[in-house]
């Protein structure tokens, strides 16, 4: 079961209050508040430069914020306790990672299990299960660098699943995909939410995704929600 026991009820999985981020004097996020319930699926929409990616990085702990409070899975982000549970947040970044390095598909997925206290064989089995769950088991021996954008995104989702997350943060996962691949990725995300209870926060400015979705949509503009 992938759903975290700690936040199994419909508590606030992500609770941000009055977050401000300024980088080199530029205000990226302004007094931003967001509450996402466990098991919820949310699309954060908005134009380029609205601060969507920064918001995800703040939630993930990759970007420091200046003022405000932020709790993820009931733990204040940045604390030692949170650091121990950080891997409960799966992250797919903006562009499918472009690497001129011979990672195999399976190696990329196994990265998700790299900090789990499991035997090598168990990690491999977990990776196989994750790849099967998103329909990319056939990519395990292929070189990651030579895969299409859609195939890379599927491996990224499998990597996140391998991590045993409670929350998935996805930054423009469909931006470089053709309509068929985009539909596939969105269907996989929908299934992960429905069947595994994963909380999903997806950043997108893809009008097609926004038009077709039944997810909760939060619109960002100039660093805060409209």
């Amino acid at each position: 079961m992938y759903l975290s026991g700690v936040m199994a009820q419909a508590d606030a999985c992500i609770a941000a209050e009055g977050i401000n981020v300024a980088i080199d004097g530029h205000h990226i996020l302004r007094d931003l508040s967001l509450s996402v319930l466990c098991g919820e699926r949310v699309i954060v929409a908005g134009p380029n430069g609205a601060g969507k990616t920064t918001l995800l990085k703040v939630i993930l702990g990759l970007q420091r914020w200046n003022t405000g409070t932020l709790q993820v899975l009931g733990l204040p982000v940045g604390t030692r306790e949170w650091s121990r549970r950080r891997r409960k947040i799966g992250y797919v970044n903006q562009e499918a990672v472009s690497v001129d390095f011979p990672f195999s598909g399976r190696e990329v997925v196994e990265i998700g299990a790299c900090t789990l206290s499991l035997a090598k064989r168990e990690k491999r089995m977990r990776a196989q299960e994750a790849m099967a769950a998103v329909g990319c088991a056939h990519l395990q021996h292929r070189m990651y660098a030579r895969l299409s954008g859609g195939e890379k995104q599927k491996l990224s989702l499998a990597r996140c699943l391998c991590q045993d997350p409670s929350v998935l943060l996805l930054d423009e996962p469909t931006s470089s995909l053709d309509p068929v691949s985009r539909r596939e990725v969105m269907d996989i995300l929908h299934d992960l939410n429905e069947m595994r209870g994963l909380t999903i926060v997806l950043v997108s400015h893809d009008s097609q995704v926004l038009a077709e979705t039944t997810w909760r949509i939060e619109r960002m503009e100039a660093g805060s929600f409209a």
Partner: protein
């Protein structure tokens, strides 16, 4: 003198062992250099080692030891400044490269250090190694092998993408710093072994050739080490047979393999 007789001379035996050990394990650091784009850092470390040698000679300390210390200090400073400033590692390394060479010349001039001696750190020789040098090389090789093998999942996560490694629960700052330290020590030891100008024949060229043929990250490390081992062993025996410096022979063989690798890659790309 035949080859077996040559091994009866301790400096030659020590040189052979050190070269084989370095060839087998140091290309792992070359994989780090390639993947994390640390080519500029490599030059910075050479300059820092020169500064260390100059300071060492001025203070009557072993120049190799001083160079190694300066390399480690430079790595700590570079990674800290890059992290705090948000600047790319390459930019920070370039700044330190200029700074260290400038300081090196200043120390050489002000302390009256013979520049020939300071620059001597740039020319290595496998036959000038002491038992301690050999032991240090062997211990270091063991350390980098253990680091890569025992922490392979975390190391490969950082090599894949640092943000994703972080999100996967890896202490990517610590792993990255460890990687930089391994690169720094590799550069310093290889400078002693075969010299600054030729160290890429063991550090980088095997990794580059392996990048043409490897199909997985694990395979990349294994192949780089196998190619490094071949270059160092073949280079050593070639140097004895042809009576040329070992470092030159290793470099020529590594360069030939690189050429062969380029041809292989061109053919492989035409087929696909």
């Amino acid at each position: 003198m035949n080859i077996l007789q040559a091994f009866s001379y301790p400096p030659i035996l020590r040189g052979f062992l050190a070269l084989v050990i370095a060839g087998c394990f140091f290309p792992m650091a070359g994989v780090f250099v390639l993947r994390l784009n640390l080519v500029t850092l490599r030059f910075t470390l050479m300059h820092a080692a020169l500064l260390g040698a100059a300071i060492g000679l001025a203070l009557h300390v072993d120049p190799l030891f001083a160079g190694l210390v300066l390399d480690l200090l430079a790595i700590v400073a570079i990674s800290r400044v890059a992290r705090e400033s948000g600047l790319a590692l390459g930019y920070v390394a370039t700044f330190f490269m200029v700074l260290t060479i400038g300081l090196a010349f200043a120390v050489i001039y002000k302390a009256g250090v013979p520049s020939k001696d300071a620059f001597g750190i740039l020319w290595g020789s496998v036959y000038s190694l002491s038992r301690v040098d050999l032991a240090v090389t062997a211990l270091y090789a063991l350390a980098i092998a253990v680091f890569v093998m025992a922490l392979f999942p975390r190391v490969s996560a950082v090599l894949f993408h640092r943000e994703i490694a972080f999100a996967s629960g890896v202490n990517e700052a610590a792993v990255t710093t460890a990687i930089l330290l391994f690169v720094g020590v590799s550069v310093a030891l290889l400078m002693k072994l075969i010299g600054a100008l030729l160290l890429d024949s063991i550090l980088l060229l095997p990794a580059i050739v392996a990048s043409f043929t490897a199909r997985s990250a694990r395979g990349f490390f294994v192949q780089a080490c196998a190619i490094g081992a071949f270059c160092s062993i073949a280079g050593f025996f070639s140097s004895l047979a042809l009576d040329v410096p070992a470092s030159s022979a290793v470099t020529v063989i590594a360069a030939c393999l690189l050429g062969a690798g380029l041809v292989y890659r061109r053919i492989a790309r035409r087929r696909t």
